[in-house]
Symmetry: C2
Subunit: 336 residues, 2 copies
Amino acid sequence: MRDLLITIDGLQYANWSPAIFRQMREGGVSAVHATICYHENFRETLANLTAWRRRFDRYAKFIFHGRTADDVRRAQAEGRTAIFFGFQNCSPIEDDIGLVEIWHELGVRFMQLSYNNQSLLASGCYEAEDSGITRMGREVIREMNRVGLVIDMSHSGERSTLQAIELSERPIAISHANPAFWHAINRNKSDGVLKALAESGGMIGFSLYPHHLRGGSACRLEDFCAMVAQCAERFGVDHLGIGSDLCQDQPNEVLTWMRNGRWTKASDDAALSFPAQPEWFRDNRDFGKIAAGLRGVGFSTDDVASIMGGNWLRFFEVSFGPMPSSRRGDDDAGRT
Amino acid sequence: MRDLLITIDGLQYANWSPAIFRQMREGGVSAVHATICYHENFRETLANLTAWRRRFDRYAKFIFHGRTADDVRRAQAEGRTAIFFGFQNCSPIEDDIGLVEIWHELGVRFMQLSYNNQSLLASGCYEAEDSGITRMGREVIREMNRVGLVIDMSHSGERSTLQAIELSERPIAISHANPAFWHAINRNKSDGVLKALAESGGMIGFSLYPHHLRGGSACRLEDFCAMVAQCAERFGVDHLGIGSDLCQDQPNEVLTWMRNGRWTKASDDAALSFPAQPEWFRDNRDFGKIAAGLRGVGFSTDDVASIMGGNWLRFFEVSFGPMPSSRRGDDDAGRT
């Protein structure tokens, strides 16, 4: 049975509030992948997670903790939004592969292997060079595959991303980025990456963050939707979704944390500010405009439904549980 | 004034005990660089450091905490051994450049940028590829230079090591390794590295760990000393010291921690055991045999004194304090 008319956002990092949860309901958003870590270590991320549990208690009318694809259908049936947890970095597992399983048990569903910089697992998209997946990274990919924690390579380097796709026995995600053929910046992805991603059953969520858009804040909806249509032609419609990267209501200091973490003493990013969203995508109430825009560039109703949420839902379905035993026998020969 | 007859060991990691401290005294060892971390994080390393403070209290007759080159002379004058702290990995600073200064204040004097694997700062000697010093690594090298925490590249990859030598404004150390021309394993160092190290005023400590020796546990003293003589010819005698890597009285489980940390679920190293030391270097009482061996291959008394401790002492002298202001003005132009 096709799941029609389900809206899923593949990434948000808002300054969460009841106002935003209400907008999710007004926009008919059934599921959001919410970032709960940029550079936080285990304990700090756990504090972010428990803060979410308090929100789930307090705002149960709007939101609940999503752990499975069925939770998205339940959210839609109940008129609520399922919040799926994800990390933009591997800092919450620190140096301990044993924490992968712990986080999955606590309901985390996505983890980026690196965020802009080199991590213990992979290189980031702003390093001068990328030597690919590390020794620990290979072990962690196997463990993420085993438990059902999705590998997300949104902020990783090109070579690390290609290797992650190859090494992972399960499809991976690029939860929020755009194609470099449309807007050539380090954070957007090459055709080589997007082709390998699609061929392996992976997903890309198109970003609405102005720096990732051709034309920035002035990008027009028609241009964005025409880019999606080009991607459908090149990579197939089944691997496309939305990952808005909406950073709603965040103070500018948050940008300094995202960019600088604790790894540099530089303070010259202090004057940074979040760019203005395009006028056609201000918040969660605007997903309908994207759906209409996609119809406007010629997508069928079914295809629009797939891009707005159906594809992510199918990906959630096969990604969040333990690895099917048929895919991982006792014989480890051939794996290094 | 030349410091003659001072013995300094550039690295040990023993299962510390009063018996070992007594042997240090019997061997006339005035200073030892002692490892206080392999994979430990900030808090765990702090526990190792406070355990040392209890040892300093209890065994003050034998040992005290060394922080400066003068402490080595004081140790010699008082017939004690000054213990200098070092990390074999950058895990104690976690992801926080601010911890470099904290550790220096707490009396740590050496930090390896990586241990076998990729770290947040540099690649390790057992990674398949080495992309050099990372974005964070460049920042941390500057900070280590500033406060006087010595960069140690004993377990790092070749390219990372060459870059560290180039980026660092102060001489660096390879506290425990041997030349690859003598025994070609990943952990030993190429002529290219040793040449760049010497030209920049750095130090290598020759290792007595059997895996680093040609012939392993059966390596003969004459062969070891002939290797040192070859290094003196190739790189100059001023950059050579001892870094015995003595892992005395350690249980074999410690090897599993060193090798596997928490980064892999592999357990097939459980059966590993420490190799037997060569019969001519069993413990701290045997440094005199090395000195005699060096005289035996033709080194002068002065040169033997330099290799056994004088070179390390001169290196300590220029390395452990804050960066001289003449070398770091307000003008940061040219540094990236």
